[in-house]
Subunit: 261 residues, 2 copies
DNA sequence: TAGTGGTCTAGACCACCGT
DNA sequence: CGGTGGTCTAGACCACTAA
């Protein structure tokens, strides 16, 4: 790993005029280093769950002070790309670890806790040509193939969420119903280890709708029952959308929880 | 402003063993300073919109380095208690400024933008004894008085949100329908300037429900129309709950937007 | 130009973890 | 114990804003 920063090696002043004048579009050193590290993560140089090099190590590699590397990593940690653990190191974020296991699941019970006894059942998994609205949201050319999943989430054996999921076919080649059945744990964990696609952030649009016959049947509620419709676009590195999810939530006993800062 | 930190004045080493051993429950210097600053904010030493003292100023007052004050303020800024502006100073966050005007409003249109043409109409404002569930959530003794507001939010003249709002009577003494009618802008702006209560964070619970006759009538939709029910608890300093809001959202053209990091 | 926040360095020491 | 992240200092210079 060696890279040219808009650099100041051998200058007398700390980071030199060169840094601010040569850069095509100025950004501070720590931000440049953050971008370099992000590329490494994206290229899979360090896999989810693994440790990245120590701060001092990175500092000498990049030829900057530890404080500068530190600030870069601080931002990566704030973005949830990386997790710091005192005394041990800094690790690539993973959807498989207990701590971040259901990072994107906002369902809570009346007490405000994550509901227990979760069970996921795959109802359907097939490859097909992307419907236009799906293609648009996933930024695919029309006619490209997508994987279409249908899944039922239950808690304590009570159906709660019916998800329809679309994934770019090109990224998820070997994804089949069998493969899914053989795996237990969060889907995002499977995606990251088996297909090398890490889900970084997501954007939810929430509406209320009435259950139609088909949905009502799967969720074991009466037709017309008000449901939350959560439409989610999930992004990987570079803000590239890689998953579209439409979830129907029964909110009799559970609710969608959101903290506003 | 002078305070005793678990301090290291006159010690040879940077922050000394004393800091870590004398403290009843250890917390780093910058965190202690953050707490001190938070108290000042809470006590209204600096009002919303005003500048707090500069970093160097605070550093000399507290007898620490600028870097330490800086880290304290960094966290205050991350918590949205304070806003940094390069070259100008650091300012107490305010719900009246354009930048944070509708910080807690998550409504978006199909394009993903904040909808325009917003209008707020107060339907009702009265003082009454708190219903038990309201009292519980606002941490009031049963029987204490609360202010009860009903409000209709419209966009481009189309009703979109019917809010029921409960506030602790003790904190909002002079709050009347006339006072509300005379004021334009976000409620949280009124609350902070007229009643000295700053809304810091909030917690939403979102469900889908069917509109009953009364609600349907106000929102100009058919009875039984699926609506979002957004139940919000809003907190001021010290995590003290000071507002309970139950909002019914029509989500035909608008939706509740949420970003997941 | 003076004052503010923003970046960067170099070096010290602390807290925590595994061996 | 050695190595990692976490805290703190002192001092320099840059970027931005307002007078």
């Amino acid at each position: 790993m060696r890279d040219r920063l808009w650099s100041n090696a051998g200058m007398s002043s700390p980071h030199s005029v060169a840094l601010h004048e040569k850069a095509p579009t100025f950004s501070p050193l720590y931000r440049q280093i953050k971008e370099l590290l992000t590329k490494r993560l994206q290229d899979g140089e360090w896999k989810p769950g693994e440790a990245i090099p120590s701060e001092v190590e990175l500092a000498t590699r990049f030829g900057v002070s530890q404080g500068t590397v530190r600030k870069a990593i601080d931002e990566l940690a704030a973005d949830n790309l990386v997790v710091r653990r005192q005394g041990r190191g800094t690790f690539v974020a993973s959807h498989r670890e207990a701590r971040a296991q259901f990072r994107f699941l906002r369902l809570r019970n009346e007490a405000g806790d994550a509901p227990g006894g979760m069970q996921s059942r795959i109802l359907d998994c097939r490859r097909l040509r992307a419907p236009i609205d799906v293609a648009r949201q996933l930024q695919l050319r029309s006619g490209e193939t997508v994987v279409h999943l249908r899944r039922l989430l239950s808690f304590e054996s009570r159906p709660a969420v019916l998800d329809e999921i679309w994934l770019p076919g090109a990224l998820f080649r070997g994804l089949t119903a069998e493969r899914l059945a053989a795996y237990s744990g969060p889907l995002y964990g499977l995606f990251e280890t088996e297909f090398g696609t890490q889900m970084i952030r997501a954007s939810d649009r929430i509406r209320a709708v009435a259950a139609d016959d088909a949905v009502a049947n799967e969720l074991a509620v009466a037709t017309g029952t008000p449901l939350l419709l959560v439409e989610r676009l999930t992004y990987t590195y570079q803000d590239r959308p890689v998953e579209l999810r439409r979830g129907f939530y029964v909110t009799a006993e559970l609710h969608y929880h959101n903290e506003l800062g």
